[in-house]
């Protein structure tokens, strides 16, 4: 297990992260066992539907992470406290990972079920826009050097970018021409690859969802801890620069006074 800095204010978060990391090893094995062995094959799709046990938690995790970034963005604009900028940027980094995994696993599931890797269905189109929007956030941060300015613009961007999330979520519920199945909170009569979950499938989905969300939470905490250490290192670098400047200036001052 990677050593996590446990100094100062980060110590409690570091302890929780370490405990979560340890718990995730058996929990992931259990989720894998349930997804591959415990859950029975689906009536029409057969074995390939099992991808769904990884696809859904990744996508739900990305929505939650983008929501965390949205809330942290608002908190930053209200308080100007850099810790909210750290939470917002870290959530978006991990959210992009989760959204990317959700999109790729979805494309792999679609190939045998829809007979195509990709189609410009409303759900797939909105999720592509979502991913590109958040990649734009990363580029925006990379383009600004001033930390206060970067944090302010990033917070505004994180708040505005969140408008994509409800669009993605409701694209399968409100638009008629989508073929993406709706698992919770609605039905889509045009869905291709819809499934009726039996009790063992529901238990498996529940376990995979809890483990998946815990996994991305673990990544978020580790990313926040890393960002705090990066900030500490930046302070040390600045102190060293100051110390070097003083060392170089001292002989000049002595020479001038002499």
């Amino acid at each position: 297990m990677t050593p996590i800095d446990s100094r100062g204010a980060s110590s409690r978060l570091a302890s929780v992260t370490r405990a979560l990391g340890v718990a995730l090893i058996p929990a992931s094995l259990l989720a894998l066992f349930m997804a591959l062995v415990y859950a029975p094959a689906e009536a029409t799709m057969g074995e390939v539907y099992r991808i769904f046990f990884f696809h859904l938690p990744a996508n739900i995790a990305s929505f939650i992470l983008f929501f965390v970034a949205f809330v942290a963005g608002i908190a930053y604009l209200r308080t100007q406290n850099p810790k909210w900028d750290t939470w917002s940027a870290s959530s978006i980094e991990v959210g992009i990972l989760a959204s990317f995994i959700g999109t790729v696993t979805g494309a792999i599931w679609a190939r045998p079920v829809w007979n195509t890797w990709w189609t410009w269905d409303p759900r797939l189109t909105t999720v592509t826009i979502l991913l590109l929007t958040y990649l734009g956030y990363v580029m925006l941060r990379g383009a600004m050097d001033d930390p206060a300015r970067r944090a302010r613009y990033s917070a505004i961007y994180a708040i505005l970018a969140f408008a994509n999330v409800p669009l993605v979520y409701f694209s399968t519920r409100l638009l008629d021409r989508t073929i993406h199945p709706v698992v919770f909170g609605g039905e889509n009569p045009n869905a291709e690859g819809d499934m009726a979950l039996t009790a063992p499938m529901n238990y498996t989905l529940l376990v995979c969802m809890v483990v998946g969300l815990a996994l991305f939470t673990y990544f978020l905490f580790r990313r926040v801890l890393l960002a705090r250490r990066e900030a500490d290192a930046a302070v040390l670098r600045a102190q060293l620069l100051d110390a070097e400047e003083v060392t170089h200036r001292a002989p000049l001052v002595e020479a001038r006074d002499a």
Binding site: P3, R50, A233
Partner: protein, 51 residues
């Protein structure tokens, strides 16, 4: 165990599409933390020498 002859290729691909990025990101966080530890030690050493 699943019947791997029934679209097993896509199932394996789906599992890899989840676990490879997850393990890759975990490894990247780990290596970034290790690099920071080294850099911090070096900076502290240099600051100590400067005083």
């Amino acid at each position: 165990m699943p019947d791997w002859s029934d679209n097993g290729f896509y199932l394996i691909l789906g599992l890899l599409a989840f676990w490879v990025p997850v393990l890759g990101y975990g490894w990247s966080l780990r290596s970034r933390a290790a690099r920071l530890t080294e850099e911090e030690a070096l900076l502290r050493e240099e600051l100590g020498q400067g005083r």
